[in-house]
């Protein structure tokens, strides 16, 4: 059981790293071209050579577009109007229709964004203003230099892999710990132990230590894989990371204990554990930006320890943020961790005493 305990979660998370780290690309594009000119071909080419889109089909009418989108063969379609070429030559405004599959709103949003970007640059090319120097297509009005700091290529892996460190800890600790404790309750071996000279605190320690050990190994492996294989830059300090993770570990142990208190069978404990991991994954900032949450949910996220851990781990990795910069998160994490751990512990000891 031990190899499986250790390996599978890490393996899964590596896989997860690949999945979440994949930047949105290769979006299936349908092109409805009513113009059939050199210009319209340039438009298509701009899209297909961008790396974001793959040409899926060239339907001949809107019904064709609908079919493609309905069946999921394409997630985005562009409609090039008849007379585009004429408009460009006459310097009249022209419009390209973009249709996105809103049933997958994340993808459609990104796709629409890419499309708009490509069209905007095409606009500058086609409608180069007379006052501009020949060959230069500098935008007029506002010249916005956008710089992305700390992760210039915006590799999603860089955001997700540090987060996975925390998630590994959460997953394996709560799962395994709640199983082990509940198993003994199921078996009735808990009572047996109290006839022995073993003290309650020794029992707990003995129970916790191996899982702490396993968790530490898993974190180290995930870290190594992240830095060496996924090449996530580590600009922070091991101290900061280590202390943050340790605090978080105590929070997870506390959660694990609380789950085991609530469950009378291992099956219950596992199902509960699963159903607690999902919201933590969704609502802690792991996958979805917290800033976009409605106010009531936004306040709720302050109760999730993982939220603080994610800020600490991401900031430390990519920005080198230290204790000083991260003190609010550390404080919150410390409060939660100690509260959860000692609450779980005291309830646990009380239950053992019954």
């Amino acid at each position: 059981m031990l190899p499986m305990l250790m390996l599978m979660p890490v393996l899964q998370l590596v896989l997860f790293g690949y999945v979440v780290g994949s930047d949105v690309k290769n979006l299936q594009l349908a092109v409805l071209d009513y113009d059939h000119t050199v210009q319209s071909e340039r438009v298509v080419e701009a899209f297909t050579s961008s790396g974001y889109f793959t040409l899926a089909a060239r339907p001949t009418n809107e019904a064709g577009v609908k079919n493609l989108l309905d069946g999921g063969t394409a997630v985005i379609a562009i409609e090039i109007p008849k007379g585009l070429s004429d408009s460009i030559r006459a310097r009249r405004p022209a419009q390209i229709g973009i249709v996105v599959d809103g049933s997958d709103s994340r993808t459609s949003q990104v796709a629409a964004g890419y499309a708009q970007g490509i069209i905007a640059s095409l606009s500058s090319q086609f409608y180069a203003l007379p006052s501009a120097k020949p060959g230069k297509t500098a935008p007029v009005g506002v010249d916005a230099q956008i710089r992305v700091l700390y992760n210039p290529t915006m590799r999603a892996v860089n955001t997700m892999v540090p987060a996975l460190l925390a998630f590994v800890l959460l997953m394996s600790t709560t799962n395994v710990m709640s199983q082990a404790i509940v198993k003994e309750r199921e078996r009735g071996t808990l009572e047996q132990l109290f006839v022995t000279p073993i003290g309650r605190s020794d029992y707990l320690l003995g129970k916790l230590v191996p899982y702490i050990g396993i968790a530490v190994i898993q974190v180290i492996v995930t870290f190594a894989v992240g830095v060496l294989w996924f090449r996530v830059p580590f600009r922070g300090s091991f101290w900061v990371l280590g202390i943050g993770l340790m605090l978080f570990l105590f929070a997870c142990l506390g959660i694990g204990m609380i789950i085991s208190l609530m469950s009378s069978t291992r099956q219950q404990a596992q199902q509960t554990s699963l159903f607690l991991q999902m919201p933590q994954m969704m609502l802690s900032g792991f996958m979805f930006p917290i800033a976009a949450f409605p106010p009531w949910l936004y306040f709720f996220t302050f109760l999730i320890p993982l939220r603080y851990m994610l800020v600490i781990v991401r900031s430390n990795f990519l920005k080198g943020s230290g204790f000083v910069a991260l003190w609010p998160q550390f404080l919150a994490l410390a409060v939660f961790s100690l509260a959860l751990f000692f609450f779980g512990l005291s309830r646990f000891q009380k239950r053992l005493a019954d």
Binding site: L69, I98, V148
Partner: protein, 375 residues
């Protein structure tokens, strides 16, 4: 047949007597449903932003207020000098810093481009991506407005200033309701998480309890045992799908444009797959802990990763895309999304149904093989 009924009845009693488990299986999915459907969206609005105005002109102030009005950015604070920028990012106070260069007002009124620097915190790639896109788009739009104003001021005809723009239409979910996106997918995820884990436990528990021995000495055939054990979970799975769908439609107002029959058939096929998966685990697992571990490992993350729920499959490395074809959730996800939002019918969804049917047959056959007499 009577034997199958006897087993199914017994399993039902086990389930009903375990009140805690019932609570977990029925209530927790609903809780999640409410949380996610109401709350989640990929829209990034209100990106915490800091503004640094080095120009202090009417024009620069107008630009910053345009930013604020766009809803995508929330200008939380105004900085005084460039040196403060690093600190802001390091302590995560804001995710975007907009620096309006000195000379912005002078340049834009003179018909030149005004310089603006937008710094985005890349450590959260999700927000960074969209932050970059929005600020770019915003600046373009703003720039175009200024350009038009300038040309008009010079007396040039606006109609001579053309531009190519894109006009976006969002199909199936034009209001961009996040519930419409999440609920169909949640059906798949939640049902998987319950059915796989529970059936994974079923046989292993009997072995541990010691009742397994008694069962195999009785006349019951292994296949009958298998069918009897999954019968209650098939029912519970179906009920969950129904309840979540109804809540989605009635309470969240997500559309249902397709055929209920199609969804029912697909649900049946998919639940067969998940139950078979649980049975396979149950037949091979050596202990309850192992069954639990395997059950959750197989049902939790893979359903998120390989079904196309959150992360579009087209972006995955080909190895993972290949893997996703082997995972039934992928096909069911397409079906639920299509049936709810797009209204596609058999002509569009037959590949998915065929795949689900194929998997259902394959997996149940394998499970039956594992449960054959005299292994």
């Amino acid at each position: 047949m009577r034997r199958i009924l006897a087993i199914a009845r017994k399993e039902f009693i086990h389930i009903m007597r375990d009140k805690r488990m019932l609570g977990v299986i029925l209530i927790m999915p609903l809780l999640q449903l409410f949380l996610y459907a109401y709350a989640l969206s990929f829209d990034i609005k209100h990106l915490p932003t800091a503004a640094l105005d080095l120009d202090h002109t009417e024009q620069s102030r107008q630009y910053i207020s345009a930013l604020q009005q766009s809803n995508y950015f929330t200008v939380n604070r105004v900085l005084n000098n460039y040196g403060q920028v690093d600190g802001i990012f390091e302590s995560n106070q804001d995710q975007v810093v907009v620096v309006v260069g000195s000379g912005f007002g002078r340049d834009t009124t003179a018909g030149r481009a005004g310089a603006v620097q937008v710094l985005v915190d890349g450590s959260d790639a999700n927000s960074a991506q969209l932050g970059q896109t929005y600020s770019g788009a915003l600046s373009r739009v703003y720039g175009a407005k200024i350009a038009i104003a300038q040309y008009e001021a010079k007396g040039a005809s606006v109609s001579n200033v053309g531009a190519l723009t894109g006009n976006t239409r969002v199909w199936y979910n034009p209001e961009g309701k996040s519930a419409s996106y999440f609920v169909p997918g949640l059906i798949v995820v939640l049902v998987t998480m319950v059915t796989v884990l529970q059936t994974a436990n079923t046989l292993v528990k009997e072995k541990e309890m010691g009742t397994y021995e008694q069962l195999i000495v009785s006349p019951i055939k292994r296949i009958e045992l298998m069918v009897g054990k999954i019968a209650p979970w098939a029912l519970i799975g179906a009920v969950e799908i129904l309840v979540i769908s109804l809540i989605g439609i009635i309470i969240f107002g997500i559309p249902f444009r397709g055929s209920a029959l199609l969804l029912a058939v697909a649900s049946l096929l998919y639940v067969t797959c998940t139950l078979a998966l649980g049975l396979i685990i149950s037949a091979r697992a050596t202990s309850v802990e192992a069954a639990n571990q395997l059950g959750s490992l197989v049902s939790f993350l893979p359903t998120f990763m390989l079904s196309g729920y959150i992360f579009p499959l087209s972006s995955l490395p080909w190895v993972l895309q290949f893997l996703s074809y082997l995972y039934p959730a992928r096909y069911f996800m397409v079906v639920t999304r299509t049936v709810f939002l797009k209204g596609g019918g058999l002509s569009v969804l037959w590949p998915q149904l065929a795949a689900l049917a194929g998997f259902a047959v394959l997996m149940t056959t394998f499970a039956a093989f594992l449960y054959r007499e005299r292994a």
